[in-house]
Amino acid sequence: MIEAQTEGDRRVATSRTNQSVIDAAVHNEVSSTRALFPYLPPYWVEHLEQTQFKGPSDFYYPTNSPIAARPNSRPAPDEVVAPLTGRTRAAAAAGPPPASALGVVQREVLGAGAEAAVLCSPYPVDSLHNPDAAVAFATAVNDWQIAEWLDKDPRVKASIVVPIQIPELAIREIERVASHPGFVQVALPIRTQHPLGSRLYHGLWEVIARNNLVAGLQFGGAPGVPPTPSGWPSYFMEEYIDMAGVFATQVTSIVCEGVFDRCPSLKVALLESGFTWLPAHMWRFDKEWKNLRRLVPWVKRAPSEYIREHFRVTVLPLDEPEGNPRQLLETVEQLGSDDMLMYASHFPRVHAADPEEALIRHLPETLARKVRSENARALYGL
């Protein structure tokens, strides 16, 4: 059923199939802090206009990195609000941030064949240590998402941005906007000050579950603590690679702390984590649980059973053995579940592999259909 590959079209894989496709993660950026002015309290607008503070600056991807923006992912200048001065000169020269206008996502993602797209904003409110600023910007981004994205195109769903560094404020923000039908998920950075299973966050998990939202754990985060167990690496390339390890430890924490025993309906999406690390992680986790389960008596089943039931994973970055699709398929099989993988373009970011070409078209047809759309449809209730 899959149409022949066509050369040259590198927008999204969906253009290469006539199957139903849902894009489980598109990272919509705020075009400029000025775009949030209508949604910010006067106190912060005044700050932004009169002081050197121009909004959060610790973005999860280096602004001009070769992987931060695909061709055609930046809106035309007249599609967005004119920027505040204060963005770095290099960033300003590159044009508006990628994926910072609905029109771009409509053209490049929905226009290429996805029937729906789930937005997951990487706006780094977690980097704002001033809690009032964190709340103000999270609130503004969510109201901006409602007005500029959700209310304009029903094919687009979005994720609630929260100040994760202060869980009770994150809870309040979720409760403020959760009733909007366009919000299907809470966006949480995978890098946090404390492991996400910690009891600090149990109220947050409960409010996510109670509102039938998905917890979307996404690549990045700017919590101020180092991203590896040995401190700060020198290069972004390392941080990018090491992020898989942060995903793994968050999975460990969330299962160990009994989050799913407290919230049996909860689902967690790992976004831009890749998945090839997950089978070996389940093996080690199960083995250690067998030895040490008396420490966590509320974890009643092997960790891999919780993981298969409660976690969903997007396929990018597709860490694949070069020229060896068989080994990649063996790794998919090692997951032990057809329900976990979800296609996502992670537009506007650039990845080495095209998920359709490198993976999905090699899968058995039933599984391919689940990866392209059915797993995301079930997860997000689309």
Binding site: H194, P229, S234, F236, A280, D286, W289, L295, V296, D319
Partner: protein, 361 residues
């Protein structure tokens, strides 16, 4: 090695010989090394104690196997004669690599740290290597104070019974950072490997997102910690600069190797302009430079997946060295550690040949 075997008490055994990459020579108490420590530091320890960065206390049930405790009642693994009788003889261990887990290498007081490292190494020479010729050892040194570490490596590095320089699982910085290069230079000069044993930290939590709550998490986490160190060693160009250097990852598992190689190559294909000093594709450094020990051996959900794992990193068959972790609570029994699905030929390599090649035995 044939001669060594012939001399050993194990010569009457018919079982195949074993080389063990993770054997713990334990202190019953810090007083065990007082004979090698200046009075000034003995007094210091009695008064002020040993002090590393705090933050890794978890309720847990035991460190050591009770069944390995010597009749004297001292800590399991703290008497060379008993460890030989209890473990090395019955399992026909031809060689075992001592990895001392002591306060050396993680002191906030650098002068104390250097003194402790020298004392630990002298204790190893006198109380382990001299009495038991089957043993080899790891050099304890002040990894966070490289000038002192270099001095210690130069002091004992000519003793060929030392085969590697010991790092904890979580140094203060990722292991490829320039800070540590003088240590690698000294190690390379003496033909020593760099070994990182799981656990132990210079203050960093075991996750990239803070301290977890339970010892179970602390025991799953070394796989992620080791990966960050491998990523750093390769990305910083350590193996380009020291082409003979080998990194031995102990007690961190090995199931993560294939996906890490794939991810590194994929990231490098997009971001190589950030690291133009790298001479090769990241995965190409693994066969020559990255070695792993077995314990805790991976337990895939289906037996054939173990063979897939071996195949996904083709050089695993040469770079994987058996380890028991004797006498710790989670040590692997050599008779049951490797899955039955592995061929006898591969088992022989893991149990013996790979260790012999890696450590020039």
């Amino acid at each position: 090695m044939v001669q060594t075997l012939a001399r050993s008490e194990a010569r009457s055994k018919t079982r195949p010989a074993l080389i063990d990459g993770d054997f713990h020579n334990e202190l019953n108490s810090i007083k065990d090394i007082y004979p090698y420590l200046a009075k000034r530091w003995q007094t210091h320890i009695e008064t002020h104690g040993v002090r590393g960065p705090a933050g890794a206390t978890y309720p847990r049930f035991m460190d050591h196997r009770e069944d390995a405790r010597p009749p004297s009642g001292r800590v399991s693994g703290s008497e060379v004669g008993w460890s030989a009788k209890d473990y090395m003889d019955p399992y026909n261990v031809a060689h075992a690599m001592c990895i001392p887990l002591t306060p050396a290498g993680r002191q906030l007081n650098f002068d104390l740290d250097a003194a402790l490292a020298s004392a630990v190494n002298d204790w190893q020479i006198n109380e382990w290597l001299d009495p038991e010729p089957r043993l080899r050892a790891s050099i304890a040194c002040s990894i966070e104070n490289p000038p002192a570490a270099v001095a210690e490596i130069n002091r004992v590095g000519n003793d060929k019974r030392f085969v590697q320089v010991q790092f904890s699982g979580r140094p203060q910085e990722p292991m490829g950072r320039r800070k540590y290069w003088p240590i690698y230079e000294a190690a390379a000069k003496h033909g020593l490997h760099i070994m990182s044993h799981a656990f132990g930290s210079y203050g960093n939590p075991i996750t990239g997102a803070g301290w977890p709550s339970f010892y179970l998490e602390d025991h799953v986490g070394p796989a992620q910690a080791a990966q960050a160190n491998v990523v750093s060693l390769i990305t910083e160009g350590v193996f380009d600069h020291f082409p003979g250097l080998k990194f031995v990852s102990v007690e961190n598992g090995f199931g993560w190797i294939p996906s890490l190689m794939w991810r590194m190559d994929s990231a490098w294909s997009l971001l190589k302009s950030e690291v133009p000093h790298l001479k090769r594709k990241p995965s190409e450094y693994f066969p020559d430079h990255i070695y792993m020990t077995t314990q805790p051996v991976e337990e895939p959900h289906r037996p054939e997946q173990f063979n897939q794992l071996m195949e996904h990193f083709g050089a695993m068959v040469n770079n994987l060295v058996f380890a028991s972790d004797y006498p710790h609570w989670d040590s692997d029994d050599p008779d049951f550690a490797l899955p039955n699905i592995l061929s006898d030929e591969i088992k022989q390599k893991i149990h013996y040949d790979n260790g012999r090649n890696l450590y020039n035995l």
